[in-house]
Symmetry: C2
Amino acid sequence: MSEMPNPQRIAELAAEMEAHGTARDAPVRAVMALLGDRWTTLILLVLEAGEWRHAELKRVLGRLSSEQAISQRVLTLKLRTLERDGFVLRAISADIPPKVSYKLTAMGAGLCSEARRLIMWVNEREPQIEEARQTFDASD
Amino acid sequence: MSEMPNPQRIAELAAEMEAHGTARDAPVRAVMALLGDRWTTLILLVLEAGEWRHAELKRVLGRLSSEQAISQRVLTLKLRTLERDGFVLRAISADIPPKVSYKLTAMGAGLCSEARRLIMWVNEREPQIEEARQTFDASD
DNA sequence: CCGCATCCTAGGCGATACTG
DNA sequence: CAGTATCGCCTAGGATGCGG
């Protein structure tokens, strides 16, 4: 017979959860959602390579994605979010016309490392996952 | 003057990205999206405490979330996804009426650890993030 | 070159009601 | 109790065109 978790255990979990909040824009949830979305992780990995102009960045991301290019709207949106949370630095040169470039902050580089770690973890388990999927799809 | 990344660097990045694919249901993207969604991480953390019946799980998740309870539909959905990918084990007892319970697989426990690590990383930087947000919102 | 406004679609999620 | 079906909302994200 398997034991079900008791109320005390539940209280512990509740406390732990409260710690990082569940509000939609709370940093924890916001950042996790960021890493989970369509483009942000890709953007972080590219930015890790150096400093990029908006247009260049867009071009490279389009080349990397086997499916489709990122739309300009979304790229701007994602960069803004990353900038707002302190992961990306946006610099505007004094030139005419002014040039805009983006690069990671120190914290942004850290986030990128975390993302990379996660990616590697999943990659190592990809065979297991694929196998589980086939078993599941075949039986039930 | 800042140097822009060269084409070679881009090629390297491309190779790295190809490695984990960008297809929507590719394991890497699927799992990252999972951790980023509204409920999955919470579910993993609760399941880490032991084995749960569907109804119990729903109740506890509702209590943990400061906002709202999870809908039955979504809970079933998330559990199915986790089960399909090999992170969760679903057991049906031979009783009348049959009882359904869920627990983590070994790989599921691993994923939960990864999620927890990420959560902790972000939590430690929450002050920086909040500060960055205020600066951003105030100026621009 | 960069960003914004507008419009549109797909999918995540909640609520409810119904089967075994 | 567990799961499904249907509905409707809201948001992520793509396409296009305009303005600085």
